[in-house]
């Protein structure tokens, strides 16, 4: 990216654990830069990030294994309506800087520079 555009993007780290990495090219850790503002000019939040991940990072077509409301991911029209809330798929925890997203405002949390967002799938083996 050019130096001029660094103002408009937020560098973050996104991680996947508990088997979710398999949906993301088997990579656990991804360093990304996402747009600082979403389509309607608001600060990018976690809901925006999840849509971004579905559209850009997730090569696996089984979007329902990552988010509950799969339509958010695949139908482009919906990407343009950021009012839609993202529901985490049951069995997935979303962690913002090592804290449950429920402590941070869930999908409305506004992404900050350097944030670490971790998606963890529950394990059941023993």
């Amino acid at each position: 990216m050019s130096a001029a555009s660094t103002e408009d993007v937020v560098p973050i780290t996104v991680e996947f654990s508990g088997g979710l990495e398999m949906l993301f090219s088997n990579e656990r850790k991804h360093k990304l830069s996402i747009a600082a503002k979403d389509e309607s000019g608001l600060n990018s939040n976690v809901a925006f990030l999840v849509r971004y991940l579905c559209d850009n990072l997730m090569k696996d077509p089984r979007k329902d294994l990552f988010v509950l409301d799969g339509t958010v991911c695949v139908v482009p029209e919906h990407v343009l309506s950021p009012a839609l809330t993202i529901q985490r798929r049951p069995g997935i925890l979303v962690l913002i800087n090592d804290a449950d997203w429920e402590l941070e405002g869930e999908d409305k949390y506004e992404i900050q520079k350097g944030d670490n967002i971790l998606f963890v799938s529950t394990l059941h083996g023993g």
């Binding site: 088997g19 069995g91 997935i92 925890l93 059941h124 083996g125 023993g126």
Partner: protein
């Protein structure tokens, strides 16, 4: 049966009967030792500090000081709170301030239930027995299998086919015969959970299904017991201490329960078992050891009970004036420990939410009641969605291993290729590492994970789609597109789904090429065709 086989069976039987005899002798020894201890105490007028008889809170002050004196004839006998052998056995942990005499007495008078005697339960129970927990209950309905042994360290080769609970207790007893062990040869069910949990101070979830995790959490909330929950798969593990402090439903200061963290179960299709996904012994072992550690911490600190909290504390979230809880006794804030053996750093602790105001189990609006649980009206298996066996194909799309074997040796022709009897393509859809373990000659490997990942044209227009077709599809398309394709996997589930997918991708050339699977997979091939084919 060869004579060697007969000899093996006979030896197995002899060993099993010796194990039973050994068990009986150990029981008798323990009983005799207990009798001796009790009678020596009786004659000296000593108070009994037997297993589980005295709650830590009610220990007489002088017993904790270790300074009581008793007159016995004309000799002054100094009485010690622990037996002599206990100072020796637990000496290395007794001298640590985190345990000390008080902690050891609490361990001795405590009881712990380990649900599941597998990869988590074995190491957890071993360390708890070693540490001198007074009573350990073990619940499991399974028997020991050879494939358990790489991680379930209380079992042994000689004890394959023995109930896991008996095998585990035999090991535990040789580790520490002074602990009281209670076996439950059953799978935990909702009907029996509360009656069993009531007898214990801390519950360990060492099970391996979502249904049992919800059941155990609900029963812990209802019986007000702290829950130490762990799980593991492949190279990852997770650990949570839940419902700690174990306050009644509706008390916000109580620790969150499993439903607070995971209100809804994951889709059944996304749940992977150790049998399917694999598990590394030390990974699950690490998690079991950590469960034992958390349990020892909870017990040594003194389990917080409802009576430790008065209404002021509960309302304001502050310790009250006259019963200020020791800050060391306050429960740590709820967290989830993630272990990832191949990541750096391998451990990571996550802050979890507190009790959820609308939790269906631990809030004031709870719908999970004692009555509902006991009557069996809460169907946990249904709640978590049973995975029904895959039945994706029609009978004409499937062949048995016998039929396929005859196709291979040419005694019957492969589907639709009357001219060239053995001409067919065999696709093995197991993951690469399994394929490399063993495979049928001439098979090609296309892992199901790759098949599933390929997007077939979203709306059923096979030709106009993707500019770059996945490699495997292109390969199969060009590979003599009239040859029938036989798909095989380990058990015969993924093979069916792969056949579906291949047809969706148009690989059946509009129905002119036969594509089907081999029923029950390589497991059936090993059982019915080639007994030398490895089973794993």
């Amino acid at each position: 049966m060869t004579s060697r086989d007969a000899q093996i069976v006979s030896l197995r039987n002899q060993i099993a009967s010796c194990e039973v005899q050994l068990q009986r002798l150990r029981d008798q020894l323990l009983e005799a030792e207990n009798d001796r201890d009790i009678s020596s105490r009786d004659t000296s007028g000593q108070i009994s500090l037997g297993l589980g008889e005295i709650a830590p809170e009610s220990l007489p002050a002088e017993a904790s000081e270790g300074s009581s004196h008793q007159q016995n004839g004309d000799k002054v006998v100094k009485l010690w709170p622990l037996d002599k052998h206990e100072y020796r056995r637990y000496g290395r942990q007794l001298i640590m301030p985190e345990i000390g005499l008080t902690g050891q007495l609490r361990l001795k008078s405590s009881s712990v239930l380990v649900v599941g005697a597998g990869g988590l339960g074995c190491p957890a129970a071993a360390y708890l027995a070693g540490a001198g927990v007074g009573m350990i209950g073990l619940i499991d309905g399974d028997t020991v299998e050879e494939s358990n042994l790489h991680r379930q360290i209380l079992h042994s080769t000689e004890r394959v086919a023995m109930p896991k609970v008996d095998s585990a207790i035999a090991s535990l007893r040789s580790l520490n015969p002074t602990v009281k062990y209670i076996p439950y040869h059953t799978r935990l069910t909702a009907e029996i959970a509360l009656d069993i949990f009531e007898k214990y101070d801390v519950i360990l979830d060492c099970t391996d299904t979502p249904a049992s995790r919800y059941l155990i959490s609900d029963a812990c909330v209802l019986s007000q017991k702290p829950l130490v929950s762990a799980s593991a798969l492949r190279t990852d593990g997770q650990l949570m201490v839940l419902n700690n402090p174990p306050l009644p439903p509706g008390h916000a200061q109580g620790g969150p329960c499993y439903r607070c963290v995971f209100p809804k179960p994951p889709p059944a299709a996304s749940v992977v078992s150790c049998g399917d996904g694999g598990i590394l012994g030390p990974v699950v072992g690490t998690m079991g050891v950590l469960q034992a550690l958390e349990t020892i911490k909870i017990i040594a600190k003194g389990i917080q009970r409802y009576s430790d909290f008065d209404s002021t504390y509960l309302q304001k979230g502050l310790p009250s004036g006259n019963s200020v809880p020791d800050p060391h006794r306050l429960s740590e804030p709820p967290s989830l420990l993630l272990f990832s053996a191949f990541s750096n750093p391998p451990f990571r602790s996550i802050r979890l939410r507190t009790r959820k105001a609308k939790c269906s189990a631990c809030s004031a609006q709870t719908t999970v009641t004692r009555e509902a649980l006991k009557s069996g009206s809460l169907d946990y298996v249904q709640f978590c969605g049973a995975v029904s066996p895959v039945d994706a194909l029609a009978a004409t799309e499937r062949v048995s291993v016998e039929e396929y074997s005859r196709i291979r040796d040419g005694s019957i022709p492969a589907e639709d290729t009357k001219t060239m009897p053995t001409e067919h393509i065999l696709v093995d859809v197991r993951e690469k590492v399994q394929f490399e373990l063993c495979n049928l000659d001439g098979s090609m490997n296309i892992p199901y994970s790759i098949v599933a990942r390929s997007s077939s044209s979203e709306s059923g227009k096979p030709s106009s789609q993707a500019p770059s077709e996945d490699d495997w599809v292109a390969q199969l398309r060009t590979l003599a597109n009239d040859k029938p394709i036989y798909v095989v996997c380990r058990l015969g589930n993924d093979s069916q789904l792969a056949v579906r997918k291949m047809k969706e991708m148009g690989l059946d050339s509009g129905g002119t090429r036969w594509i089907g699977d081999i029923r029950n997979g390589l497991r059936a091939w090993m059982k019915r065709i080639d007994p030398d084919f490895p089973e794993y």
